[in-house]
Amino acid sequence: MPNSHKPLGWVVALLLLTPSTAWAHTATGTVDGFLSGFTHPLYGWDHVAAMIAVGILGAFLGRPAIWVLPMVFPLVMALGGVLGILGVPLPGIEPGIALSSIVLGSLIVLAIRPPLWVAVILVAMFAIFHGYAHGAELPNAANPLAYSVGFVLSTGMLHLFGIAIGELIRWPWGKVVARATGGLIALTGVGFLTGVL
């Protein structure tokens, strides 16, 4: 028994001798920042609905919209994020986010195929609101870069999920599923806009 703490002592001594605390960069906060950024869009159903809608709409419109929209969204979202970080006042953020679900969801449920430039403008406009909301959270993150990588990655994966749903339109039953998802997204938007959700 008297020697039971000996191994622990050695471990403590070795840890004290390890110079890891003196490195120029540390991983402190990196994983936490990444995880909190990655989960941030997933906790807000208003965000999730809109991201998935972008993917479905891209798939509905076919090429090149299927890759243009998921590329435009994060880029313009970043510009919205910059406005949020710099504290530039932008009215109607929450209604704008809710409206994005209503408009994009309605386009899908009604099977409206706007020209690419119209779709790009719509998506870019709504991306500003989403980016602004995320950007305002960025200064509080443990590691802002890890946080931003996490949430951009999460956003992209939601787009991919939407594209996967949109790709179902190749089958008759898939069309129903995709349009029903669009309807659900639009209803979610209405719920957020009216304060029901």
Binding site: S20, I85, S148
Partner: protein, 181 residues
């Protein structure tokens, strides 16, 4: 000794800014032809080793995070645009990235620390960063043949978005300092 080599190997993976720049450069190199890709990788390794050898002799890099993010943003924009770039520009971007990463990968300078340990750290960093870049560039090269390289360009857009927002945050933090001085 092994600890220093291992810490060096993990260094590019533990610094998000370094990983982001390596990812952006890897994607860009994968979009080029085989000759540009191979020349750039070779020059990258040489420049990185040079920078890592010089690092202990030079003062710490100023505004390193800002420059890293700016470089990541520029590289990712080039990935999105996907234009064939002249060899000189690709080589220049590879060398700049390697020098920046090398000069920002400073091993700890503890009193009485053997120089060999510093160079073991540098060896680990150069090996790991070169392997990561080679792997990413190879992946990007093959992904470019799938769906006209859409996936690569979309990842480029994600990198641009991430770096732009953190650049804005850094500028916002430095604005009060600039106005005060």
């Amino acid at each position: 000794m092994i600890s220093f080599f291992w810490q060096g190997c993990l260094h590019p993976l533990s610094v998000p800014g370094h990983l982001l720049v390596l990812l952006a450069l890897g994607l860009l190199l994968g979009q080029q032809d085989k000759f540009s890709l191979r020349s750039s990788l070779g020059l990258f390794v040489l420049s990185l080793v040079l920078a890592l050898v010089l690092t202990p002799l030079l003062p710490p890099l100023q505004y390193n995070e800002f420059i890293l993010l700016l470089l990541a943003f520029i590289l990712s924009l080039l990935v999105i645009i996907k234009l064939p770039l002249p060899l000189g520009l690709v080589l220049c971007l590879s060398v700049s990235t390697a020098l920046l990463l090398g000069l920002d990968s400073r091993a700890p300078r503890l009193p009485g620390l053997a120089v060999s340990k510093l160079y073991l750290h540098a060896l680990g960093t150069s090996l790991s960063a070169s392997l990561i870049l080679t792997l990413l560039a190879s992946l990007s090269f093959y992904l470019n043949k799938l769906l006209a390289g859409i996936a690569v360009r979309v990842i480029g857009a994600w990198i641009a978005a991430s770096s732009l927002m953190v650049l804005a945050l850094l500028i916002q933090h430095s604005l009060p300092l600039l106005t005060a001085s």
